[in-house]
Amino acid sequence: MRTPRVLAPGEVEERGDFETGGGLYPPTSLQASPESWAGFVWATDIEDVLGFLAAAEQMGTTAGSAEPIARLLCGFGHSPSYGRLGAVNARRARERLMPLFRPFKEAEAVQQPESPQDIARRMALRAPAVPVEPFIPVASANAARDLRDWTQLTVQELAAMCHVTARRFQHWLQGAAMSSRREERLLRLRYFAAILAAAFGPAGARRWFRAPHPELGTTPIEAMVGGRDDAVQRLVEHYIESPAT
């Protein structure tokens, strides 16, 4: 570290690369108040600043000032603007300087040339995911009711996908019997609903059925109404796979 020296009014000691330094203005200069010395220091480490303060205090005493260094203007690293510390003395500097150094060190870290992917990678390694409580569909004896509860679709929409009237679907909700062919279709739809509800929750399953899908060229509801069950099943079963690709 360079030894602090007394500066002429308006003079600023040039910063040397990777070196701590600074200067002091006597009480009579424009930079200082009439009563006290002022100074500035640049450094990248708190210990260097404290070393400077100790040396400056000693210098002030040697120069005939009975006052401790009362005011210090601190510039940190490459920062063009000097933060003002106000009335401090060298012995209490640590506690005042530490919070000022923290943002400087963070700013210096941000100055590193990091790509968005580098930033994301660093953040992802720290927190790759956020906890979310999943919806767990539990099957009952009434498949029609499960389908309605797991998708939150209207009876009209569900009936259309099952190729029956809304009135008949209402009867199913109340436990009415159905043909094996219709039951097979209902159970297939419930299978889709169970996957989607586990993946997105009932509200998300409803959104999925209603939103146009690029691979279908329409909504899954419309595709089911049109008998394209296999195409819908392929999209739904995408969510039960976990391959490395």
Binding site: E114, Q117, A120, V130, P131, A198, F200, S242, A244
Partner: protein, 219 residues
């Protein structure tokens, strides 16, 4: 040119306990689907009986998730800026992706393998090279084209490999996929949920996507 089976037979195999992670649909009683269910013929190391894909860490599991559900990640754009700006990433990177992305369980799978082929081992990579396997195929990035990876998996399974360990194409720097074949699944002793949730925005940005599948909001 087909892979040289004789040279592949020289690849060293290891035995011992393992702990791996896997993302899966949350446990679903209604479907009778478990976290160890597999789909025959699916994925980079696909085999006729199905391969159980697992990861070396949670980050790798989530990267594979984002790569697989890339279109849902696309739909879950978290910002109005396209692509997302670095300052936005710093602000919202630790938030979860939106509800367009499915919730997933992360399972920790423990067990013991008799014949694990570690394809990240330099000596084994030399055999792969000599057998005609291009090492760049580990990270091939064309959708639905895994190069010679499926053929290597098929031959490896016939040679008695329980599982193989290879670089993860979704997290290539230091991520590994452990692909467990049917015989290796017999060595699984436990499987438990260790996390349930959605990946963060940062996770989606950091993932490596297949060509043409990188969501538009990711730089």
């Amino acid at each position: 040119m087909p892979l040289n089976r004789t040279i592949l037979a020289d690849i060293n195999v290891d035995s011992g306990p393992f702990i791996v992670l896997r993302h899966s649909l949350p446990l679903n009683d209604a479907l009778q689907l478990g976290p160890l269910s597999v789909t025959p013929g699916s994925g980079r190391w696909n085999t006729p009986e199905g391969t159980l894909y697992t990861a070396s860490s949670q980050v790798v599991a989530w990267a594979e998730f984002c790569r697989w559900f890339w279109d849902d990640v696309e739909a879950a754009a978290p910002s109005t800026s396209t692509p997302i700006q670095p300052w936005e990433l710093a602000r919202i990177g630790s938030q979860a992706l939106g509800e367009e992305v499915p919730v997933r369980s992360i399972y920790e799978i423990r067990g013991s393998l008799e014949r694990l082929a570690d394809l990240t081992d330099p000596a084994n990579q030399m055999y792969l090279h000599l057998a005609g396997f291009p090492l760049e195929d580990f990270l091939s990035n064309t959708p639905d084209d895994y190069g010679l990876c499926p053929e290597l998996a098929r031959i490896g399974e016939q040679l008695g490999w329980d599982a193989l360990r290879a670089p993860s194409a979704a997290w290539p720097e230091d991520g590994y996929t452990i692909a467990i074949f049917a015989a290796g699944r017999l060595g699984i002793s436990s499987c438990r949920v260790v996390f349930e949730g959605r990946p963060t925005v940062a996770m989606a940005v950091a993932t490596r996507y297949r060509d043409g599948q990188k969501p538009g909001w990711i730089p």
